[in-house]
Protein backbone atom coordinates (compact mmCIF):
# COMPACT_ATOMS: atom_id res chain seq x y z
CA UNK A 1 0.00 0.00 0.00
CA UNK A 2 1.31 3.39 -0.96
CA UNK A 3 2.33 5.71 1.80
CA UNK A 4 -0.50 8.26 1.75
CA UNK A 5 2.07 11.04 1.90
CA UNK A 6 4.00 9.82 -1.06
CA UNK A 7 2.18 11.88 -3.63
CA UNK A 8 2.38 15.09 -1.73
CA UNK A 9 4.84 16.97 -3.89
CA UNK A 10 5.84 20.22 -2.25
CA UNK A 11 4.13 23.22 -3.71
CA UNK A 12 5.79 26.55 -4.23
CA UNK A 13 4.98 28.80 -1.26
CA UNK A 14 3.63 32.25 -2.01
CA UNK A 15 6.35 34.92 -2.11
CA UNK A 16 7.05 36.41 1.30
CA UNK A 17 6.06 40.03 1.61
CA UNK A 18 7.21 42.31 4.36
CA UNK A 19 4.13 44.41 4.93
CA UNK A 20 6.06 47.29 6.46
CA UNK A 21 8.86 47.73 3.97
CA UNK A 22 7.31 46.62 0.68
CA UNK A 23 5.73 49.49 -1.25
CA UNK A 24 2.29 48.86 -2.66
CA UNK A 25 2.75 47.82 -6.28
CA UNK A 26 0.58 49.38 -8.93
CA UNK A 27 -2.26 47.25 -10.27
CA UNK A 28 -0.78 44.56 -12.53
CA UNK A 29 -1.23 45.20 -16.24
CA UNK A 30 -0.51 42.31 -18.55
CA UNK A 31 -0.29 42.14 -22.27
CA UNK A 32 -3.32 40.86 -24.11
CA UNK A 33 -3.30 37.16 -24.89
CA UNK A 34 -3.84 36.15 -28.50
CA UNK A 35 -6.94 34.29 -29.59
CA UNK A 36 -10.27 33.57 -28.03
CA UNK A 37 -11.47 31.69 -31.07
CA UNK A 38 -13.83 28.75 -30.65
CA UNK A 39 -12.00 25.44 -30.46
CA UNK A 40 -12.17 23.27 -33.58
CA UNK A 41 -14.20 20.09 -33.15
CA UNK A 42 -12.05 17.96 -35.38
CA UNK A 43 -9.04 16.47 -33.62
CA UNK A 44 -6.62 17.10 -36.50
CA UNK A 45 -7.50 20.79 -36.57
CA UNK A 46 -7.17 21.06 -32.79
CA UNK A 47 -3.81 19.32 -32.90
CA UNK A 48 -2.58 21.64 -35.63
CA UNK A 49 -3.76 24.66 -33.68
CA UNK A 50 -1.95 23.77 -30.45
CA UNK A 51 1.12 22.07 -31.89
CA UNK A 52 3.34 25.23 -31.92
CA UNK A 53 2.39 26.18 -28.37
CA UNK A 54 2.99 22.72 -26.92
CA UNK A 55 6.22 22.25 -28.84
CA UNK A 56 7.39 25.65 -27.61
CA UNK A 57 6.77 24.58 -24.01
CA UNK A 58 8.66 21.31 -24.35
CA UNK A 59 11.57 22.63 -26.40
CA UNK A 60 12.06 26.10 -25.03
CA UNK A 61 10.74 26.00 -21.50
CA UNK A 62 11.87 22.47 -20.68
CA UNK A 63 14.77 22.22 -23.14
CA UNK A 64 13.67 18.89 -24.53
CA UNK A 65 15.03 17.85 -27.91
CA UNK A 66 12.59 18.36 -30.75
CA UNK A 67 12.18 14.65 -31.58
CA UNK A 68 11.35 13.75 -27.98
CA UNK A 69 9.16 16.82 -27.64
CA UNK A 70 7.07 15.84 -30.65
CA UNK A 71 6.47 12.44 -29.04
CA UNK A 72 5.36 14.14 -25.82
CA UNK A 73 2.94 16.41 -27.68
CA UNK A 74 1.40 13.31 -29.24
CA UNK A 75 1.17 11.66 -25.81
CA UNK A 76 -0.56 14.70 -24.37
CA UNK A 77 -3.09 14.69 -27.18
CA UNK A 78 -3.85 11.00 -26.74
CA UNK A 79 -4.45 11.69 -23.06
CA UNK A 80 -6.68 14.63 -23.99
CA UNK A 81 -8.75 12.43 -26.29
CA UNK A 82 -9.13 9.53 -23.89
CA UNK A 83 -9.78 11.35 -20.64
CA UNK A 84 -13.21 10.63 -19.20
CA UNK A 85 -13.29 14.01 -17.52
CA UNK A 86 -14.86 16.87 -19.39
CA UNK A 87 -12.18 19.41 -20.21
CA UNK A 88 -13.40 22.87 -19.36
CA UNK A 89 -10.56 24.93 -20.82
CA UNK A 90 -8.77 23.16 -23.66
CA UNK A 91 -5.72 25.37 -23.89
CA UNK A 92 -5.06 25.48 -20.15
CA UNK A 93 -5.55 21.71 -19.86
CA UNK A 94 -3.15 21.01 -22.74
CA UNK A 95 -0.52 23.36 -21.35
CA UNK A 96 -0.75 21.86 -17.85
CA UNK A 97 -0.55 18.35 -19.31
CA UNK A 98 2.41 19.34 -21.48
CA UNK A 99 4.24 20.67 -18.42
CA UNK A 100 3.52 17.40 -16.59
CA UNK A 101 4.71 15.33 -19.54
CA UNK A 102 7.90 17.39 -19.78
CA UNK A 103 8.61 17.08 -16.06
CA UNK A 104 8.08 13.30 -16.23
CA UNK A 105 10.44 13.19 -19.19
CA UNK A 106 13.19 14.86 -17.20
CA UNK A 107 12.57 12.83 -14.10
CA UNK A 108 12.87 9.68 -16.19
CA UNK A 109 16.08 10.99 -17.78
CA UNK A 110 17.53 12.32 -14.55
CA UNK A 111 19.70 9.28 -13.97
CA UNK A 112 21.73 9.93 -17.08
CA UNK A 113 21.43 13.65 -17.76
CA UNK A 114 21.54 16.82 -15.70
CA UNK A 115 18.24 18.61 -15.33
CA UNK A 116 17.74 22.02 -16.92
CA UNK A 117 17.21 24.96 -14.60
CA UNK A 118 13.69 25.56 -13.34
CA UNK A 119 12.42 22.34 -14.87
CA UNK A 120 9.92 22.03 -12.04
CA UNK A 121 8.63 25.60 -12.07
CA UNK A 122 5.08 26.13 -10.99
CA UNK A 123 2.83 28.70 -12.58
CA UNK A 124 4.47 32.09 -12.92
CA UNK A 125 2.82 34.26 -10.26
CA UNK A 126 3.24 37.35 -12.42
CA UNK A 127 0.99 36.07 -15.16
CA UNK A 128 -2.69 35.26 -15.07
CA UNK A 129 -2.09 31.67 -16.00
CA UNK A 130 0.77 29.60 -17.26
CA UNK A 131 -1.07 28.95 -20.54
CA UNK A 132 -1.45 32.69 -21.12
CA UNK A 133 2.19 33.19 -20.34
CA UNK A 134 3.33 30.70 -22.98
CA UNK A 135 0.96 32.17 -25.54
CA UNK A 136 2.43 35.61 -24.84
CA UNK A 137 5.95 34.28 -25.25
CA UNK A 138 5.18 32.83 -28.65
CA UNK A 139 3.57 36.06 -29.80
CA UNK A 140 6.49 38.11 -28.52
CA UNK A 141 8.92 35.88 -30.43
CA UNK A 142 6.95 36.54 -33.57
CA UNK A 143 6.88 40.28 -32.83
CA UNK A 144 10.68 40.31 -32.49
CA UNK A 145 10.97 38.83 -35.99
CA UNK A 146 9.48 42.05 -37.39
CA UNK A 147 12.17 44.26 -35.84
CA UNK A 148 15.32 45.55 -37.51
CA UNK A 149 18.40 43.54 -36.41
CA UNK A 150 19.85 46.52 -34.56
CA UNK A 151 16.66 47.04 -32.61
CA UNK A 152 16.50 43.38 -31.76
CA UNK A 153 20.10 43.42 -30.56
CA UNK A 154 19.45 46.50 -28.44
CA UNK A 155 16.53 44.86 -26.70
CA UNK A 156 18.52 41.66 -26.21
CA UNK A 157 21.43 43.50 -24.62
CA UNK A 158 19.34 45.70 -22.35
CA UNK A 159 16.35 43.55 -21.38
CA UNK A 160 17.68 40.02 -21.60
CA UNK A 161 21.34 40.50 -20.62
CA UNK A 162 20.46 43.33 -18.26
CA UNK A 163 23.14 45.67 -19.58
CA UNK A 164 22.95 49.39 -18.86
CA UNK A 165 22.46 52.04 -21.54
CA UNK A 166 26.18 52.86 -21.19
CA UNK A 167 27.15 49.24 -21.89
CA UNK A 168 24.77 49.11 -24.82
CA UNK A 169 26.37 52.31 -26.15
CA UNK A 170 29.83 50.74 -25.99
CA UNK A 171 28.62 47.53 -27.63
CA UNK A 172 26.91 49.44 -30.45
CA UNK A 173 29.68 52.02 -30.67
CA UNK A 174 27.44 54.99 -30.11
CA UNK A 175 26.71 57.62 -27.48
CA UNK A 176 24.90 56.98 -24.21
CA UNK A 177 22.14 59.34 -25.15
CA UNK A 178 21.55 57.62 -28.48
CA UNK A 179 21.61 54.18 -26.83
CA UNK A 180 18.95 55.30 -24.35
CA UNK A 181 16.83 56.64 -27.17
CA UNK A 182 17.29 53.39 -29.06
CA UNK A 183 16.24 51.29 -26.06
CA UNK A 184 13.07 53.31 -25.56
CA UNK A 185 12.15 53.41 -29.23
CA UNK A 186 12.69 49.70 -29.69
CA UNK A 187 10.61 48.92 -26.62
CA UNK A 188 7.80 51.10 -27.98
CA UNK A 189 8.09 49.47 -31.39
CA UNK A 190 7.98 45.87 -30.21
CA UNK A 191 5.07 46.66 -27.91
CA UNK A 192 3.21 48.26 -30.78
CA UNK A 193 3.81 45.22 -33.02
CA UNK A 194 2.70 42.87 -30.24
CA UNK A 195 -0.50 44.83 -29.63
CA UNK A 196 -1.25 44.91 -33.36
CA UNK A 197 -0.75 41.17 -33.64
CA UNK A 198 -3.09 40.38 -30.79
CA UNK A 199 -5.64 42.95 -31.95
CA UNK A 200 -5.81 41.30 -35.38
CA UNK A 201 -6.21 37.86 -33.86
CA UNK A 202 -8.95 39.02 -31.58
Amino acid sequence: VLDPNAFETPLAPPPAVNAESAPTPPPAVTLPVPSAEPEPDEIGALYTKYWPLLLHIACRKFRIEQGDAEGLVQEVFVSFMTTTTKVENTRAWLVAAMCNASRHFWRASARTESLPENFDDQCDPKSGSIADRFAMEITMRQALDYLQPKCRETLYLHYYEGRSAGDVAIELQTTNRYAEKLIHNCLKRVREIYLNMTAVQR
Partner: protein, 444 residues
Protein backbone atom coordinates in the same frame (compact mmCIF):
# COMPACT_ATOMS: atom_id res chain seq x y z
CA UNK B 1 -8.94 70.25 -13.92
CA UNK B 2 -5.20 70.40 -13.13
CA UNK B 3 -2.39 70.37 -15.65
CA UNK B 4 -1.38 66.96 -14.37
CA UNK B 5 -4.75 65.58 -15.46
CA UNK B 6 -4.98 67.48 -18.75
CA UNK B 7 -1.88 66.43 -20.64
CA UNK B 8 -0.97 62.80 -21.28
CA UNK B 9 2.63 61.69 -21.03
CA UNK B 10 4.14 60.86 -24.39
CA UNK B 11 5.18 57.30 -25.12
CA UNK B 12 8.89 58.11 -25.10
CA UNK B 13 8.64 59.15 -21.50
CA UNK B 14 6.52 56.14 -20.57
CA UNK B 15 9.05 53.84 -22.29
CA UNK B 16 11.76 55.44 -20.17
CA UNK B 17 9.60 54.94 -17.07
CA UNK B 18 9.42 51.22 -17.83
CA UNK B 19 12.89 50.81 -16.30
CA UNK B 20 12.12 52.92 -13.25
CA UNK B 21 11.11 51.02 -10.08
CA UNK B 22 7.44 51.62 -9.40
CA UNK B 23 8.05 52.96 -5.89
CA UNK B 24 9.98 55.88 -7.39
CA UNK B 25 6.92 56.79 -9.44
CA UNK B 26 4.49 56.41 -6.56
CA UNK B 27 4.31 60.19 -6.05
CA UNK B 28 3.58 60.96 -9.67
CA UNK B 29 0.18 62.64 -9.58
CA UNK B 30 -0.56 62.22 -13.24
CA UNK B 31 0.12 58.48 -13.29
CA UNK B 32 -1.99 58.08 -10.19
CA UNK B 33 -5.01 59.69 -11.83
CA UNK B 34 -4.65 59.07 -15.57
CA UNK B 35 -5.87 55.58 -16.46
CA UNK B 36 -4.66 55.61 -20.12
CA UNK B 37 -1.11 56.60 -19.13
CA UNK B 38 -1.04 54.06 -16.30
CA UNK B 39 -2.28 51.42 -18.75
CA UNK B 40 0.38 52.30 -21.34
CA UNK B 41 3.09 52.21 -18.71
CA UNK B 42 1.73 48.86 -17.52
CA UNK B 43 2.02 47.33 -20.98
CA UNK B 44 5.51 48.84 -21.43
CA UNK B 45 6.59 47.15 -18.22
CA UNK B 46 4.90 43.88 -19.21
CA UNK B 47 6.71 43.99 -22.57
CA UNK B 48 10.04 44.66 -20.86
CA UNK B 49 9.39 41.81 -18.45
CA UNK B 50 8.60 39.42 -21.27
CA UNK B 51 11.80 40.45 -23.07
CA UNK B 52 13.71 39.26 -20.04
CA UNK B 53 12.54 35.73 -20.70
CA UNK B 54 15.08 33.25 -22.09
CA UNK B 55 12.52 31.47 -24.26
CA UNK B 56 11.88 34.63 -26.30
CA UNK B 57 15.43 34.76 -27.56
CA UNK B 58 15.99 31.14 -28.44
CA UNK B 59 17.15 31.12 -32.07
CA UNK B 60 16.49 27.44 -32.76
CA UNK B 61 13.72 27.28 -35.34
CA UNK B 62 10.74 25.11 -34.47
CA UNK B 63 8.25 23.72 -36.98
CA UNK B 64 4.86 25.39 -36.92
CA UNK B 65 2.85 22.47 -38.30
CA UNK B 66 2.76 18.89 -37.02
CA UNK B 67 3.83 16.04 -39.30
CA UNK B 68 0.94 14.71 -41.38
CA UNK B 69 1.40 11.16 -40.08
CA UNK B 70 0.94 12.22 -36.47
CA UNK B 71 -2.32 13.96 -37.37
CA UNK B 72 -3.41 10.81 -39.12
CA UNK B 73 -2.59 8.68 -36.05
CA UNK B 74 -4.84 10.83 -33.89
CA UNK B 75 -7.65 10.70 -36.44
CA UNK B 76 -7.41 6.92 -36.52
CA UNK B 77 -7.53 6.81 -32.73
CA UNK B 78 -10.60 9.07 -32.71
CA UNK B 79 -12.37 6.77 -35.16
CA UNK B 80 -11.47 3.68 -33.12
CA UNK B 81 -12.73 5.27 -29.93
CA UNK B 82 -16.00 6.25 -31.56
CA UNK B 83 -16.56 2.72 -32.78
CA UNK B 84 -15.63 1.23 -29.39
CA UNK B 85 -17.96 3.59 -27.56
CA UNK B 86 -20.89 2.75 -29.82
CA UNK B 87 -20.47 -0.98 -29.28
CA UNK B 88 -19.93 -0.47 -25.55
CA UNK B 89 -23.10 1.60 -25.25
CA UNK B 90 -25.26 -1.37 -26.20
CA UNK B 91 -23.31 -3.77 -23.98
CA UNK B 92 -23.53 -1.50 -20.95
CA UNK B 93 -27.28 -1.12 -21.39
CA UNK B 94 -27.59 -4.87 -21.62
CA UNK B 95 -25.41 -5.39 -18.55
CA UNK B 96 -27.09 -2.84 -16.31
CA UNK B 97 -30.61 -3.97 -17.20
CA UNK B 98 -29.93 -7.12 -15.12
CA UNK B 99 -29.63 -7.30 -11.35
CA UNK B 100 -26.40 -6.10 -9.80
CA UNK B 101 -25.25 -9.56 -8.68
CA UNK B 102 -24.93 -10.55 -12.34
CA UNK B 103 -22.68 -7.65 -13.35
CA UNK B 104 -19.28 -9.00 -12.36
CA UNK B 105 -19.94 -12.59 -13.56
CA UNK B 106 -21.25 -11.31 -16.90
CA UNK B 107 -18.17 -9.18 -17.44
CA UNK B 108 -15.94 -12.13 -16.60
CA UNK B 109 -17.82 -14.30 -19.07
CA UNK B 110 -17.22 -11.80 -21.87
CA UNK B 111 -13.53 -10.91 -22.10
CA UNK B 112 -14.20 -9.70 -25.66
CA UNK B 113 -16.20 -6.83 -24.11
CA UNK B 114 -13.15 -5.57 -22.23
CA UNK B 115 -12.32 -2.40 -24.14
CA UNK B 116 -11.48 1.14 -23.10
CA UNK B 117 -14.83 2.11 -24.57
CA UNK B 118 -16.66 -0.22 -22.19
CA UNK B 119 -14.79 1.24 -19.21
CA UNK B 120 -15.61 4.77 -20.35
CA UNK B 121 -19.31 3.92 -20.65
CA UNK B 122 -19.36 2.21 -17.26
CA UNK B 123 -17.71 5.21 -15.64
CA UNK B 124 -20.37 7.43 -17.16
CA UNK B 125 -23.07 5.16 -15.72
CA UNK B 126 -21.63 5.02 -12.20
CA UNK B 127 -22.70 8.42 -11.05
CA UNK B 128 -26.40 7.68 -10.92
CA UNK B 129 -25.81 4.66 -8.66
CA UNK B 130 -23.75 6.73 -6.21
CA UNK B 131 -26.78 8.85 -5.48
CA UNK B 132 -29.55 6.30 -5.66
CA UNK B 133 -28.08 2.95 -4.80
CA UNK B 134 -24.61 3.25 -3.23
CA UNK B 135 -24.20 -0.48 -2.56
CA UNK B 136 -24.72 -1.20 -6.26
CA UNK B 137 -22.19 1.52 -7.10
CA UNK B 138 -19.64 -0.47 -5.08
CA UNK B 139 -20.41 -3.65 -7.04
CA UNK B 140 -20.28 -1.87 -10.37
CA UNK B 141 -17.03 -0.05 -9.67
CA UNK B 142 -15.37 -3.21 -8.33
CA UNK B 143 -16.23 -4.93 -11.61
CA UNK B 144 -14.88 -1.93 -13.52
CA UNK B 145 -11.56 -2.16 -11.70
CA UNK B 146 -11.18 -5.76 -12.87
CA UNK B 147 -11.92 -4.83 -16.48
CA UNK B 148 -9.68 -1.75 -16.51
CA UNK B 149 -6.69 -3.74 -15.23
CA UNK B 150 -6.60 -5.57 -18.55
CA UNK B 151 -7.23 -2.60 -20.82
CA UNK B 152 -3.80 -1.05 -20.35
CA UNK B 153 -4.77 2.61 -20.10
CA UNK B 154 -3.40 4.14 -16.90
CA UNK B 155 -5.62 7.17 -17.01
CA UNK B 156 -8.69 4.92 -17.12
CA UNK B 157 -7.27 2.88 -14.25
CA UNK B 158 -7.02 6.03 -12.16
CA UNK B 159 -10.61 6.88 -13.06
CA UNK B 160 -12.05 3.50 -12.09
CA UNK B 161 -9.99 3.24 -8.90
CA UNK B 162 -11.18 6.70 -7.92
CA UNK B 163 -14.81 5.79 -8.67
CA UNK B 164 -14.44 2.61 -6.64
CA UNK B 165 -12.85 4.44 -3.71
CA UNK B 166 -15.59 7.04 -3.78
CA UNK B 167 -18.29 4.38 -3.83
CA UNK B 168 -16.61 2.63 -0.90
CA UNK B 169 -16.54 5.95 0.93
CA UNK B 170 -20.26 6.40 0.34
CA UNK B 171 -21.05 3.12 2.06
CA UNK B 172 -18.62 3.74 4.91
CA UNK B 173 -15.83 1.31 3.97
CA UNK B 174 -13.21 3.91 4.79
CA UNK B 175 -10.06 1.85 5.25
CA UNK B 176 -10.63 -0.06 2.04
CA UNK B 177 -11.45 3.16 0.22
CA UNK B 178 -8.28 4.85 1.48
CA UNK B 179 -6.19 1.99 0.18
CA UNK B 180 -7.89 2.08 -3.22
CA UNK B 181 -7.48 5.83 -3.62
CA UNK B 182 -3.80 5.53 -2.64
CA UNK B 183 -3.42 3.04 -5.51
CA UNK B 184 -5.18 5.46 -7.86
CA UNK B 185 -2.83 8.28 -6.94
CA UNK B 186 0.17 6.00 -7.27
CA UNK B 187 -0.85 5.32 -10.89
CA UNK B 188 -2.01 8.89 -11.60
CA UNK B 189 1.11 10.64 -10.37
CA UNK B 190 2.96 9.43 -13.49
CA UNK B 191 0.19 10.53 -15.86
CA UNK B 192 -0.01 13.81 -17.69
CA UNK B 193 -3.69 14.58 -17.07
CA UNK B 194 -3.82 17.17 -14.28
CA UNK B 195 -7.58 16.99 -13.72
CA UNK B 196 -7.70 13.22 -13.34
CA UNK B 197 -5.04 13.40 -10.64
CA UNK B 198 -6.79 16.35 -9.00
CA UNK B 199 -10.05 14.42 -8.78
CA UNK B 200 -8.28 11.50 -7.11
CA UNK B 201 -6.73 13.91 -4.60
CA UNK B 202 -10.15 15.28 -3.80
CA UNK B 203 -11.44 11.81 -2.95
CA UNK B 204 -8.35 11.31 -0.80
CA UNK B 205 -9.27 14.51 1.02
CA UNK B 206 -12.60 12.92 1.91
CA UNK B 207 -10.94 9.87 3.46
CA UNK B 208 -8.33 11.88 5.32
CA UNK B 209 -11.06 14.00 6.83
CA UNK B 210 -12.92 10.81 7.87
CA UNK B 211 -9.83 9.61 9.64
CA UNK B 212 -9.28 12.92 11.47
CA UNK B 213 -6.14 13.75 9.47
CA UNK B 214 -7.28 17.31 9.05
CA UNK B 215 -3.96 18.97 8.25
CA UNK B 216 -3.24 16.38 5.61
CA UNK B 217 -6.77 16.69 4.23
CA UNK B 218 -6.44 20.47 3.91
CA UNK B 219 -3.10 20.10 2.17
CA UNK B 220 -4.48 17.47 -0.22
CA UNK B 221 -7.44 19.67 -1.10
CA UNK B 222 -5.07 22.58 -1.71
CA UNK B 223 -2.92 20.41 -4.02
CA UNK B 224 -6.04 19.47 -5.97
CA UNK B 225 -6.99 23.15 -6.19
CA UNK B 226 -3.61 23.99 -7.74
CA UNK B 227 -4.00 21.25 -10.35
CA UNK B 228 -7.50 22.44 -11.27
CA UNK B 229 -6.33 26.02 -11.39
CA UNK B 230 -3.45 25.20 -13.73
CA UNK B 231 -5.80 23.25 -15.97
CA UNK B 232 -8.20 26.22 -16.08
CA UNK B 233 -10.99 24.11 -14.57
CA UNK B 234 -12.99 26.71 -12.67
CA UNK B 235 -15.79 24.36 -11.62
CA UNK B 236 -13.51 21.80 -10.09
CA UNK B 237 -11.42 24.52 -8.49
CA UNK B 238 -14.62 25.61 -6.81
CA UNK B 239 -15.19 22.03 -5.70
CA UNK B 240 -11.72 21.86 -4.18
CA UNK B 241 -12.48 25.06 -2.28
CA UNK B 242 -15.72 23.51 -1.09
CA UNK B 243 -13.78 20.50 0.17
CA UNK B 244 -11.41 22.79 2.01
CA UNK B 245 -14.46 24.25 3.73
CA UNK B 246 -15.72 20.77 4.60
CA UNK B 247 -12.37 19.94 6.17
CA UNK B 248 -12.82 22.94 8.46
CA UNK B 249 -16.28 21.68 9.37
CA UNK B 250 -14.78 18.32 10.25
CA UNK B 251 -12.11 19.98 12.30
CA UNK B 252 -14.79 21.79 14.27
CA UNK B 253 -13.68 25.22 13.03
CA UNK B 254 -17.18 26.35 12.09
CA UNK B 255 -16.41 30.03 11.79
CA UNK B 256 -13.64 29.40 9.27
CA UNK B 257 -15.80 26.88 7.42
CA UNK B 258 -18.61 29.43 7.12
CA UNK B 259 -16.10 32.01 5.87
CA UNK B 260 -14.97 29.57 3.20
CA UNK B 261 -18.54 28.82 2.14
CA UNK B 262 -19.31 32.53 2.00
CA UNK B 263 -16.44 33.01 -0.43
CA UNK B 264 -17.75 30.47 -2.92
CA UNK B 265 -19.63 31.54 -6.01
CA UNK B 266 -22.86 29.63 -5.39
CA UNK B 267 -24.17 30.33 -8.85
CA UNK B 268 -21.35 28.27 -10.29
CA UNK B 269 -21.87 25.30 -8.00
CA UNK B 270 -23.73 22.41 -9.52
CA UNK B 271 -26.96 21.51 -7.82
CA UNK B 272 -25.68 18.57 -5.77
CA UNK B 273 -22.66 20.42 -4.49
CA UNK B 274 -24.82 23.39 -3.62
CA UNK B 275 -27.14 21.15 -1.60
CA UNK B 276 -24.15 19.54 0.14
CA UNK B 277 -22.75 22.93 1.00
CA UNK B 278 -26.08 24.07 2.45
CA UNK B 279 -26.18 20.98 4.63
CA UNK B 280 -22.66 21.60 5.93
CA UNK B 281 -23.53 25.24 6.46
CA UNK B 282 -26.61 24.25 8.45
CA UNK B 283 -24.53 22.02 10.70
CA UNK B 284 -22.10 24.88 11.29
CA UNK B 285 -24.91 27.26 12.26
CA UNK B 286 -26.44 24.72 14.58
CA UNK B 287 -23.11 24.01 16.21
CA UNK B 288 -22.85 27.74 16.86
CA UNK B 289 -26.36 27.71 18.33
CA UNK B 290 -27.79 29.79 15.52
CA UNK B 291 -30.97 27.77 15.18
CA UNK B 292 -32.74 30.16 12.82
CA UNK B 293 -30.00 30.12 10.22
CA UNK B 294 -29.53 26.40 10.67
CA UNK B 295 -33.21 25.78 9.94
CA UNK B 296 -33.10 28.05 6.92
CA UNK B 297 -30.15 26.19 5.46
CA UNK B 298 -31.72 22.80 6.16
CA UNK B 299 -34.92 23.78 4.43
CA UNK B 300 -33.07 25.19 1.41
CA UNK B 301 -31.07 21.97 1.17
CA UNK B 302 -34.12 19.74 1.42
CA UNK B 303 -35.92 21.80 -1.22
CA UNK B 304 -33.05 21.32 -3.66
CA UNK B 305 -32.93 17.60 -2.89
CA UNK B 306 -36.67 17.25 -3.52
CA UNK B 307 -36.52 19.15 -6.77
CA UNK B 308 -33.62 17.11 -8.10
CA UNK B 309 -34.32 13.68 -6.62
CA UNK B 310 -31.16 13.59 -4.52
CA UNK B 311 -32.49 10.89 -2.25
CA UNK B 312 -29.39 10.01 -0.26
CA UNK B 313 -28.53 13.61 0.39
CA UNK B 314 -32.10 14.35 1.42
CA UNK B 315 -31.95 11.62 4.01
CA UNK B 316 -28.76 13.09 5.39
CA UNK B 317 -30.36 16.49 5.55
CA UNK B 318 -33.33 15.04 7.44
CA UNK B 319 -30.96 13.30 9.79
CA UNK B 320 -29.14 16.52 10.52
CA UNK B 321 -32.47 18.24 10.99
CA UNK B 322 -33.50 15.54 13.46
CA UNK B 323 -30.43 16.34 15.49
CA UNK B 324 -31.57 19.94 15.61
CA UNK B 325 -34.88 18.71 17.02
CA UNK B 326 -33.03 16.59 19.61
CA UNK B 327 -31.19 19.63 20.81
CA UNK B 328 -34.31 21.75 20.88
CA UNK B 329 -36.45 19.60 23.09
CA UNK B 330 -38.31 17.47 20.55
CA UNK B 331 -36.73 14.04 21.07
CA UNK B 332 -39.91 12.18 20.15
CA UNK B 333 -40.11 13.87 16.73
CA UNK B 334 -36.40 13.33 16.26
CA UNK B 335 -36.76 9.66 17.14
CA UNK B 336 -39.49 9.15 14.55
CA UNK B 337 -37.32 10.62 11.82
CA UNK B 338 -34.20 8.78 12.90
CA UNK B 339 -35.83 5.37 13.04
CA UNK B 340 -37.23 5.80 9.56
CA UNK B 341 -33.83 6.90 8.29
CA UNK B 342 -32.17 3.99 10.03
CA UNK B 343 -34.25 1.59 7.95
CA UNK B 344 -33.43 3.53 4.78
CA UNK B 345 -29.69 3.56 5.46
CA UNK B 346 -29.62 -0.16 6.20
CA UNK B 347 -31.50 -0.84 3.00
CA UNK B 348 -29.08 1.33 1.02
CA UNK B 349 -26.07 -0.36 2.61
CA UNK B 350 -24.72 2.88 4.12
CA UNK B 351 -22.80 1.27 6.97
CA UNK B 352 -21.08 4.35 8.31
CA UNK B 353 -24.27 6.33 8.40
CA UNK B 354 -26.14 3.44 9.99
CA UNK B 355 -23.56 3.19 12.76
CA UNK B 356 -23.56 6.90 13.50
CA UNK B 357 -27.30 7.08 13.38
CA UNK B 358 -27.50 4.16 15.79
CA UNK B 359 -25.53 6.21 18.28
CA UNK B 360 -27.95 9.11 17.88
CA UNK B 361 -30.92 6.87 18.50
CA UNK B 362 -29.11 5.30 21.46
CA UNK B 363 -28.69 8.76 22.94
CA UNK B 364 -32.38 9.41 22.75
CA UNK B 365 -33.14 6.03 24.28
CA UNK B 366 -30.70 6.79 27.04
CA UNK B 367 -32.43 10.07 27.72
CA UNK B 368 -35.73 8.22 27.82
CA UNK B 369 -34.19 5.61 30.15
CA UNK B 370 -34.66 2.80 27.62
CA UNK B 371 -31.25 1.49 28.55
CA UNK B 372 -31.35 -2.00 27.00
CA UNK B 373 -32.21 -0.63 23.57
CA UNK B 374 -29.55 2.04 23.92
CA UNK B 375 -26.89 -0.52 24.78
CA UNK B 376 -27.78 -2.73 21.84
CA UNK B 377 -27.48 0.15 19.41
CA UNK B 378 -24.23 1.38 20.91
CA UNK B 379 -22.70 -2.05 20.57
CA UNK B 380 -23.91 -2.33 17.01
CA UNK B 381 -22.15 0.94 16.19
CA UNK B 382 -19.00 -0.13 18.01
CA UNK B 383 -18.81 -3.30 15.95
CA UNK B 384 -18.82 -1.24 12.77
CA UNK B 385 -16.17 1.21 14.00
CA UNK B 386 -13.97 -1.68 15.07
CA UNK B 387 -14.29 -3.45 11.71
CA UNK B 388 -13.46 -0.28 9.82
CA UNK B 389 -10.55 0.63 12.13
CA UNK B 390 -12.26 3.89 12.95
CA UNK B 391 -11.93 3.53 16.71
CA UNK B 392 -8.74 5.55 16.41
CA UNK B 393 -10.83 8.61 15.63
CA UNK B 394 -10.67 10.24 19.05
CA UNK B 395 -14.17 11.66 19.22
CA UNK B 396 -15.88 8.48 17.99
CA UNK B 397 -13.95 6.36 20.45
CA UNK B 398 -14.58 8.67 23.38
CA UNK B 399 -18.24 9.09 22.55
CA UNK B 400 -18.94 5.42 22.10
CA UNK B 401 -16.92 4.37 25.13
CA UNK B 402 -18.79 6.86 27.28
CA UNK B 403 -22.08 5.67 25.93
CA UNK B 404 -21.15 2.08 26.47
CA UNK B 405 -20.08 2.74 30.04
CA UNK B 406 -23.28 4.61 30.76
CA UNK B 407 -25.30 1.75 29.44
CA UNK B 408 -23.38 -0.76 31.52
CA UNK B 409 -23.85 1.30 34.64
CA UNK B 410 -27.54 1.69 33.94
CA UNK B 411 -27.37 4.99 35.78
CA UNK B 412 -27.81 7.56 33.06
CA UNK B 413 -28.83 10.99 34.19
CA UNK B 414 -29.89 14.02 32.23
CA UNK B 415 -26.69 15.78 33.40
CA UNK B 416 -24.55 12.90 32.22
CA UNK B 417 -26.21 12.90 28.83
CA UNK B 418 -25.64 16.64 28.59
CA UNK B 419 -21.93 16.19 29.34
CA UNK B 420 -21.71 13.34 26.91
CA UNK B 421 -23.17 15.45 24.18
CA UNK B 422 -20.86 18.33 24.84
CA UNK B 423 -17.92 15.99 24.52
CA UNK B 424 -18.96 14.01 21.54
CA UNK B 425 -21.85 15.51 19.73
CA UNK B 426 -20.35 18.17 17.53
CA UNK B 427 -17.36 16.35 16.21
CA UNK B 428 -19.00 13.05 15.48
CA UNK B 429 -21.97 14.51 13.78
CA UNK B 430 -20.18 16.92 11.52
CA UNK B 431 -17.70 14.30 10.46
CA UNK B 432 -20.55 12.58 8.74
CA UNK B 433 -20.78 15.48 6.37
CA UNK B 434 -17.72 14.34 4.51
CA UNK B 435 -19.66 11.33 3.37
CA UNK B 436 -22.16 13.67 1.78
CA UNK B 437 -21.80 12.86 -1.88
CA UNK B 438 -20.47 16.16 -3.07
CA UNK B 439 -20.81 16.00 -6.80
CA UNK B 440 -17.21 16.08 -7.83
CA UNK B 441 -18.04 13.54 -10.47
CA UNK B 442 -21.19 15.20 -11.61
CA UNK B 443 -19.46 17.85 -13.63
CA UNK B 444 -18.75 15.77 -16.69
Amino acid sequence: MTMAEQQHYDEDLLAAFADVPHELLADDEHLATCAPCAETLGTMRATASLLNCREIWDETPLPTRPPAESIEKLRTLAATMKEEDEIAETRVKQLLSKSSDTWAPTLREHPEWHTAGLVRRLIAATDRYNYTSPAEAVELTAAMVEVAEGVGDNSLRVDVLREHAYALGCVGRASEGMSVIADAICVGIDGVDPVTLGRALLVKTMFEAHLDHFERAASTAASAAILFSEAGDANRLLMARLYEGLVFVNRGDYREALNRFEGLDRNRLDVRSHASMLLAEAACHRSRNDVTRAERSFIACIEICDATQLLTLRRKAEWSFARLLMRNGSPARALTILRRLSDDFSELGLARESASLAVDVAEIFLALNRVAEARELALQALRYYKEEHLLAAASARAALALLSEAVKERKPTIEFIGDFRRLADERREVRLLTTVPVAIFGLS
